[in-house]
């Protein structure tokens, strides 16, 4: 899908919800949609970069670790334009995980690990990140970026 089409889908909207299938190739388009929405909401370049990074990492976690690349499972994305920011909610349909048990990738013993830095990036690039198990299964991550 072209960027201008993505932009038309988001422009002027207070809230949008959409889904992607659990494949790596679907992540880019969803990230573009989120940044188009954020741009329309008035975020500047630095904030857009942060939103891009955080959404990409959250989607990668949902697709790869949550839904385990099972294309029969979707990832749901909701974008809400708040008065002073933006709320991004991403839900997968996997088994969930305890975020407190994710090793700190900046600990010396973890520095040379190939993965495990996505959550660190999410915390770094948005103002608030919360995880919760959905009552009907799956994991929800809610991120807030202030204007």
């Amino acid at each position: 899908m072209k960027t201008d089409e993505l932009y038309r889908q988001t422009v002027g909207k207070k809230e949008i919800t959409f889904s992607i299938s659990s494949k790596i190739e679907a992540i880019d388009e969803a990230v573009q949609k989120a940044t188009a929405f954020a741009s329309d909401a008035g975020f500047g370049d630095d904030a857009l970069f942060g939103i891009d990074m955080a959404v990409r990492e959250a989607l990668a976690n949902a697709v790869k670790h949550g839904n385990k690349l099972d294309e029969t499972k979707n990832v749901e994305i909701t974008l809400i334009n708040l008065d002073r920011g933006m709320e991004i909610t991403i839900r997968d349909f996997g088994k969930g995980f305890d975020v407190s048990e994710v090793p700190d990738p900046t600990n010396p013993e973890n520095l040379l690990k190939a993965s495990g830095r996505g959550i660190l990036f999410m915390h770094n690039f948005v103002d608030k990140v919360e995880w919760q198990q959905h009552a009907e299964g799956g994991m929800i991550v809610k991120m807030t970026k202030n204007c």
């Binding site: 990668a60 520095l111 690990k113 495990g116 660190l120």
Partner: protein
């Protein structure tokens, strides 16, 4: 067009990989992994990654840099980084990987450091 283009140059026994594009989950990360594997298979163990034209990298791409570094080290070689953009430098600082990688802004200095 590929997500990441890798162009190989040789400076003596040092292989310089000019990277152009994005190193993100999927195609970009795989392209880097395959190239490093091939170079090691050819016995090229001194590798300089030129990231000057890498506009975007995510945690998967950072992970691939780390995997490349450990794979080259395991073979008794050396991998160093050249021309990091400010954003990539910031990401390596956040992840504390600036303490792991040898990073250069000047190609000549980077090449000299191998010997």
């Amino acid at each position: 067009m590929a997500e990441l283009n890798l162009t190989e140059r040789q400076a003596g026994d040092i292989t310089i990989l000019d990277m152009d594009g994005k190193v993100t989950i999927g195609e970009g990360s795989v392209a880097l992994r395959n190239t490093i594997r091939r170079l090691l298979g050819e016995g090229k163990k001194k590798i300089l990654l030129n990231l000057g034209s890498v506009g975007y990298i995510d945690s998967s791409g950072i992970g691939e840099l780390v995997s490349s570094f450990t794979a080259v080290n395991k073979e008794g070689g050396t991998l160093k980084l050249l021309n990091l953009t400010q954003k990539i430098q910031d990401l390596l600082a956040i992840t504390k990987l600036l303490t792991v990688f040898d990073v250069f802004e000047n190609e000549g200095e980077a090449l000299s450091s191998f010997n």
